[in-house]
Subunit: 158 residues, 2 copies
């Protein structure tokens, strides 16, 4: 199957890792994975500062190569939420609970263009040590690390 | 991965076949598939008459064996929408666009019980020849067959 997935991946945390791993699991060796990576202009709509595209690109490549996968893949620069997903022929989209609505929009817009809709695989929420979601914003605020480990404020102030 | 999927499967049409096939695709050979089949009391809430459990069970087994799969599986009798999905440890649920809300409820109720949420794989809509969805109701009305082929009214009245 040909699978698409997308994001800003900044910083690339364990939730992103599951998202990317699942895309490759679903693809099967004769399939392909397209990973959309938001460009700096689009990514900078976020509430916190974003690392430059090139740095995020390198982290993403490091994450993919660590999977030791035989599945072909490519990274696509995203100028908006959709990239080539509205016009490309592919089979399934991998999303988080947070980005599921984007997946639904993609199918809605594909239907309007006369394209077949795609399957949507929503991964489970990846929780931090405190039972709340891992998110880039929480990492940026210094509450947790990329694996969801609580950062002790006491240690930081010493 | 351990996968769950459920339905009334009456009559078992091409949309159901994709649902069941995808559950086995996701499971991987070391995984397992649990297929929930609604019992007659629960199934009879539908707007149209339902074939007895035993007949639906046999059709379901025929569909599964036609996949020639090595993945272990079992059929669970469903007395309600959820069956054992609220308490069992499993990895992902396969749903259609129509049953996606049930999947969301399952995760919501699992969280309330302190169980980890599961991944939800929503298959694409399977369309009939006329571009509209294949559904049991449309088949029951005699509009289409189980493969989505339009049934010509003229032929029927001859």
């Amino acid at each position: 199957m040909k699978i698409m997935v997308g994001g800003t991946f900044d910083p690339l945390h364990d939730g992103h890792r599951l998202l990317i791993k699942r895309a490759f699991d679903l693809a099967s060796p004769d399939g392909k994975v397209i990973i959309g990576l938001t460009n700096d202009t689009f990514a900078n709509r976020k509430v916190h500062p974003i690392h430059p595209y090139n740095e995020r690109y390198k982290d993403l490549v490091r994450c993919i190569t660590s999977l030791n996968t035989d599945v072909p893949w490519e990274i696509e620069e995203l100028h908006d939420q959709y990239g080539s997903s509205l016009d490309t022929d592919f089979d399934a989209l991998v999303v988080s609970e947070e980005t599921f609505p984007v997946g639904k929009n993609i199918n809605h817009l594909r239907r309007e263009r006369g394209k077949p809709c795609v399957e949507i695989h929503m991964i489970r929420c990846v929780l931090a040590e405190d039972g709340r979601w891992i998110s880039s914003t929480r990492i940026w605020r210094g509450e947790i690390d990329i694996h969801g480990k609580i950062i002790q404020k006491e240690e930081k102030s010493e």
